[in-house]
Amino acid sequence: MKNISIDFPGVKALSNVDFSIASGNIHALVGANGAGKSTLMKIMAGAYNHYSGAIYLNGEEVAIRSPRDAKNIGIEIVYQEVDTALVPYLTVAENIMLNVLVNKMDKQVFVRWPKIHQAARQILKRLNIQIDTNEIVQNLKLAQKQMVLIARAIAEDCRFLILDEPTAPLSNTETVELFRLLKDLTQNHNVGIIFISHRLPEIFEVCKDITIMKDGQVVTRKSVTELSVAKVVEFMLGQKLSEVFPKRQVEIGETIFEVNHLTEKEDAVKEINLYVRSGEIVGVTGLVGAGKTELCKTIFGSLKTKSGEIKLNGKKITIKSPFSAVTHGLALVPEERRKEGVLVEEPVFSNLSAATLAKFSTPFGFIKSLAEKLNARKMINDLAIKTPSENQKVAFLSGGNQQKVAVGKWLNADADIFIFDEPTKGVDVGAKHDIFELIGRLAAAGKGVIYATCEFTEILGITDRAYVMYDGQIAQELVTANTDEEKLLFYSTGGK
């Protein structure tokens, strides 16, 4: 691939990227979130057609403008969300042979099942995978589903296989099994594999070459023998971003919130130990998929707890649901703003009172609408929410202003602990600044703040202490003043 560039409305996602891969090789593609890895691979798989640049195969230029084009020259991609590509209530054989069933039937009306199953069995055997072709896909484990997808890719004459973060949801043993399969593919079937991953140690385990991207450009391309985890991190970060963080100096008090050995019901997070002191902003960081959101939701009772205890102000509390979390004085600003944080079809004022409506009601439950609206106006003023009036539907506000609404609804809640999950996602710089200010004000008022983000600059900018998560567990606790991005990334990627 030469000189690849692509624009999306308002952003240049890739500029003049060169990328190449030899068959029979595993090639790693790494970069921070938003570096352009997935975009580049989607171009290669034919998901976009408005790019510029050229793609060559064996020295000859080929046109890839649709997924069909890519498939025809043998490029297959396995996306991170395996469930979107499988039909859950069909058998393994049908899923593997799906493309054949759809595209190669020609005028044949009846399906020859024995033939389909035989072909599927052969592919699985070739890959040395032990799965019954009669099994229904929804009964499979995640790793097995991924293998079915890889088998499907192989079912059609596949020369290049793109794997987008295949190991993120896998356990260690499953990962080992996947690597065995990948090595087998490259050695015995001469397939070229592009491997996207955030977990640096495993890249050194299986890949031969690494291409590192940053901000839509290729930074470097080297053999793994010339690099180390620390070097790769350096390339990924490049120069340090400078963003102004309005960090307040706040007197830090006693421990007010404590989590001991917390484990989520399905092990999404395991053995979490953390504490928050009054006036303290505690960061929770880690890469995408490390379990930050799950941690926030487990503490807040939105995900079920298997074991562990939570103490607030020294007293043990049981949080069974978000309702009981709120009653105990916790507040959560969730990550998926439009899906979980605000009511887009409702006006600003009712969003701002959604969590505290009891305060604006008489004992019989009648709403004091004047008090509710006055509160909304005060909030709009305090938080500098840009809206024509409190009656505006939240759907019409910008992302940053929606986020301010999502935060604003908690400010009257008398909460002691505020949990923020990626509050600056998709928020412009000005609104970011306002949100940081607001969080600083909460800390200054003696509240405890848990701040989850994958942006290391934010961790360094506004927190007092940070926990780094890896694979659903807390890998390291760091005091912000004594750490830097390199250390954060080192622990986030599984370094020890």
Binding site: F300, S302, S321, P322, F323, A325, V326, T327, L332, P334, K339, E340, G341, V342, L343, V344, E345, E346, S350, A354, A355, L357, A358, F360, S361, F364, G365, F366, I367, S369, K409
Partner: protein, 333 residues
């Protein structure tokens, strides 16, 4: 070129304004249009006070049941079983008079109590077992229709009529109960139900929570609203109002008939959905539902008076429902 694109833009804008106007005020306009049309074509009989009373009386049961549907719609749910609930309530209350000679007040209270049990049954299956609302209430539609029929012994119940096994009955339907189904009581009950529902949905925190849950269940949950509790409440209220509708029906016809309530499902659903867009509310609301019921009622009354046979009315009622749904969903796109 510049000119034509400007003209195009203007055309589009006019179209949007027109579309918005139609969706907002279409129901009111349609009621007005129908009233005008019927009074012009039947000047002597349509616009008389007795006929207007007839219309209001005939829509009361539909309105009360439709308010129940409206409440189930606020939480983004749906209750198909209300017709059967009305039949069940009709059977219950009449049987208590005719078979057991129980006075009016306890008979009504027991019937409403049974309605709450039915509502709790629906709510349990929807909220706890997590079966989609439409399917649960479709199943319970049949269950409670069957329960009502089994309870009545497969036939109707009316005063003086012996039970199916031949046992004579001596109970009487009290006169005070009979007045419920006559004007003006029946109209007053309807207006009170609409007013109460309007106040409940718009001026209390409970009503607000129902809308919040319906608007975005996950956001509601993460705001600390006990979502399951409010969803349960909605199904309880919807069953309760269906039972009120069934009791009024019992009083009007003075007997318990097989599947008496079934015919109220369709017009009630239509009324609630027509009500969604009235005056630009954009969400289920009591006043809109009332307007929807008036539209359906006026249409039915006028058509009957114009000698359209009763067996053809369903075509028109169904078409009105389709139109209301089209207005709601077409805009949502």
């Amino acid at each position: 070129m510049q000119l034509s694109s400007n003209a195009q833009l203007k055309k589009v804008r006019i179209q949007t304004i027109l579309m918005n106007f139609v969706t907002k005020w279409g129901t009111i306009l349609a009621i007005g249009g129908l009233l005008l049309f019927f009074s012009l074509s039947m000047p002597d009989i349509f616009m008389t006070s007795s006929n207007i009373t007839t219309i209001l009386r005939s829509i009361s049961i539909v309105t009360v049941i439709a308010i129940g549907i409206t409440i189930s719609l606020t939480i983004n749910g749906f209750d198909l079983s209300i017709g059967s609930m009305a039949t069940f309530a009709d059977t219950m209350v009449i049987s208590m008079f005719v078979w057991h000679n129980i006075p009016t007040v306890p008979a009504i209270l027991v019937t409403l109590g049974v309605a709450l049990v039915v509502g709790a049954f629906n709510a349990f299956l929807i909220v706890k077992v997590k079966i989609p609302d439409m399917l649960v209430t479709l199943a319970s539609l049949f269950i409670f229709e069957g329960v009502a029929m089994t309870y009545a012994g497969g036939g109707s119940i009316s005063q003086g009529m012996p039970r199916l096994d031949g046992t004579p009955t001596f109970g009487v339907i009290p006169d005070i109960f009979k007045t419920i189904g006559t004007a003006p009581t029946i109209i007053i009950i309807m207006l009170v139900v609409v007013a109460l529902a309007h106040v409940f949905l718009n001026y209390t925190k409970y009503g607000r929570y129902l809308y919040v849950v319906g608007g975005n269940m996950e956001a509601a949950r993460l705001s600390g609203i006990p979502v399951d509790r409010y969803r349960t409440l909605a199904y309880l209220l919807s069953a309760l109002l269906a039972a009120v509708g069934g009791i009024i029906l019992a009083s009007r016809i003075g007997s318990a008939q097989i599947n008496a309530g079934a015919g109220y499902l369709m017009p009630s659903v239509a009324a609630a959905f027509i009500g969604l867009s009235v005056a630009g509310a954009g969400r289920p609301n009591a006043i809109g539902t009332f307007a929807g019921a008036v539209l359906v009622g006026v249409l039915e009354n006028g058509l009957v008076m114009m000698s359209v046979p009763y067996y053809s009315l369903n075509i028109i009622k169904g078409a009105v429902l389709v139109l209301a749904l089209a207005l709601t969903y077409f805009r949502k796109k």
